[in-house]
Amino acid sequence: MSDLQNSPSTAGQVTDEAPVAATAAANAPSAAATTGRTLLPQSTLLRHLVLLLLGAVAAVVILEITDPFTNSQLATLSFYAIAAGGLTVLTGMNGQISLGHGALMAVGAYTTALLLQEPDGALPLPLILLISVVMATVVGALVGVAAARLHGPYLAGATLALAVGLPGLAIYFHDFLGGEQGLRVRAPRAPESFESFIGLVSGANATSTKWLAYVGAICLLITYFLLANLVRSRIGRTWRAIRDQDVAAELAGINLGAWRVLAFVVSAAAAGLAGSVLALVVRLAAPSGFTLVLSLSLLTAIVIGGLGSLLGALLGSALLVFLPPWVTDRGIDFGLNNTEAAQLAPFVYGVVLIVAMIFAPGGFVGTVRLRWMTQKAKRAAAARAAAGSSGG
């Protein structure tokens, strides 16, 4: 539903927790107000700004204390999490499903790849990222207009067709988009200021892997900051109203279609940015990178994390990055060969989706939150009982 309740201690733990919790700080604030007791400022925007800053510090610390391989894994985490964050807005908060976000990521990735074909005359990186976002947003708006009239299985089927069909365009426009092989991406070099910044912070080597991990982290923090504010705004409340009570919302004069399109557009923008970061990190934009499995993985991430929670989307994305190597290793331990073991991860995703929907539709965050609230209620009841007995 909403974000994990943020107790004051969460922000302090950020640095010792896994990378997951680090960026969680950027998103956690939205529910803080409900706890009533918090060290963070009362104003939503201010609170989010503080957490953005904490998240940035945490990101620097984590990226500097981990090895290059983990750096690249974290870069992967950042684009999954950006896309999953957008999908959370769509599916979790507005109740629309999309299996087509992999295709929207492809739009962002190909845009970035095309803009970087001439590395010398290339536009500045922020502008490239922005143009990629705009392109995906335009495509997302087109899909969104059609999707706004659909729901549930119809929407799932239509976006499924998008996920399977759109990469085909890359093959059709072979000369322009590189066909099956795709387009190689020449990632721009890190600016000198970055090298001096790293030199100042840790004295480590400012490799291009590290630079791209930072680009991913910055994009992630900005995306989650914007999404968290959006979710707490009137817009976010309207989305939830539509999800929970569409008939009542319509009677209250809310134009359901327009709001659904807006949700699609926002999530498409996030997918575009994710695709752009993906292209930079993977250094390739090819149809094989945007299969149906990518779209379904994103769905898995937000379902496991807990539909509608940005923190959940982040945790789910972390699972997408760190689970497959672990599962594959276990598979090899059990005597599977490499190609067989590589299939264990999607198998686990699928099983987790089924089990989560049957036994814990609230996902990880929803389930934890429910526990937490139940215990809180129990404590409150116990306190009342104690007060009652001492008073009487």
Partner: protein, 294 residues
């Protein structure tokens, strides 16, 4: 002219396979209001069972029977164990469960049977018939596809129209509560419905595999085509699914045959057709309800 005839024949043959797959989706949608996105993976699983038997030296026909039978069992078990808990609940949850099943089954197939492309035999010749000195794109195997799909559909019509079980299945599909009050064992009927749908889905998987290659994801595009065909037909109507399958088969065949490098456009064309149908006639061509509650 000859090309037109060939493209049309190819389209009709492909369309019948789409129709069968769409029919499987419609049967499940009617009874449980779930779009079975796992249908493709289920059909792939049973096709690989058939392939394993064929590779072990058994005949195509034995493999066909075993494959269809295992499809029935698979469909029935899936309904009982996985689908039953989410039936009648939040439709998003049901969609996600079906998708989870889709991914898990496909991965399981890859783990058990491997991910590589394997050729799948066709039971009849793949060389076109000779008509008036010209060889047309209609092969003995196409004839087999026609026969298999038409016979299956006639059997289903007979089951639903003329048997007591068929009547009970239809009643359960349309109104679960009333049917239960009338003593119909609705749960059993839903299980049976999933089993039968899986048989039809398996058949389409076998037919499309014949004379081509199979790999764990080989049904992915058929899910899209089957879904589009079912939507064209209104998702509720078996007749609509068949007509939708034929329309889609023909349309995609013309695009593939006449547009320059058209074969790369087939899937995206299906998407365009789907969008046009959903925008112009959201209920499909055969639906009794006119609008979908958005």
């Amino acid at each position: 002219m000859q090309q037109f005839v060939n493209v049309t024949l190819t389209g009709l043959t492909q369309g019948l396979i789409y129709a069968a797959f769409a029919l499987a989706l419609v049967l499940i949608w009617r009874s449980t209001r779930i779009v079975n996105f796992a249908q493709g993976s289920m059909a792939a699983a049973t096709t690989f069972i058939a392939l394993a038997l064929i590779q072990a030296g058994y005949s195509y026909w034995l493999a066909l029977v075993v494959s269809l039978a295992s499809g029935f069992v698979l469909g029935a078990i899936i309904e009982r164990v996985i689908i039953r808990p989410v039936e009648g609940g939040n439709e998003l949850n049901a969609v996600i469960v079906a998708l989870g099943l889709f991914v898990a089954l496909q991965a399981l197939i890859a783990i058990i049977f491997g991910s590589s492309f394997q050729s799948f035999p066709a039971p009849f010749g793949l060389e076109g018939f000779q008509i008036g000195g010209n060889r047309v794109a209609f092969t003995p195997n196409s004839l087999y596809i026609f026969g298999a799909v038409v016979v299956t559909m006639l059997l289903l019509v007979a089951l639903f129209r003329f048997t007591r079980v068929g009547l009970a299945m239809r009643a359960s599909a349309f109104s679960q509560e009333v049917s239960r009050l009338l003593g119909v064992k609705v749960g059993g009927m839903l299980t049976l419905g999933w089993g039968l749908a899986a048989v039809v889905g398996s058949l389409s998987g076998l037919l499309i595999a014949g004379g081509g290659f199979v790999y764990p994801a080989y049904m992915d595009s058929l899910i899209v085509f089957g879904f589009v065909a079912a939507i064209i037909g209104g998702l509720d109507s078996p007749i609509g699914a068949i007509v939708g399958g034929l329309i889609l088969g023909l349309a995609l065949s013309y695009i593939s045959g006449y547009a320059p490098r058209g074969s790369a456009l087939v899937t995206i064309s299906a998407l365009v057709i789907l969008m046009v149908v959903l925008l112009v006639r959201p209920g499909g061509l055969f639906s009794s309800t006119t609008a979908r509650r958005a």
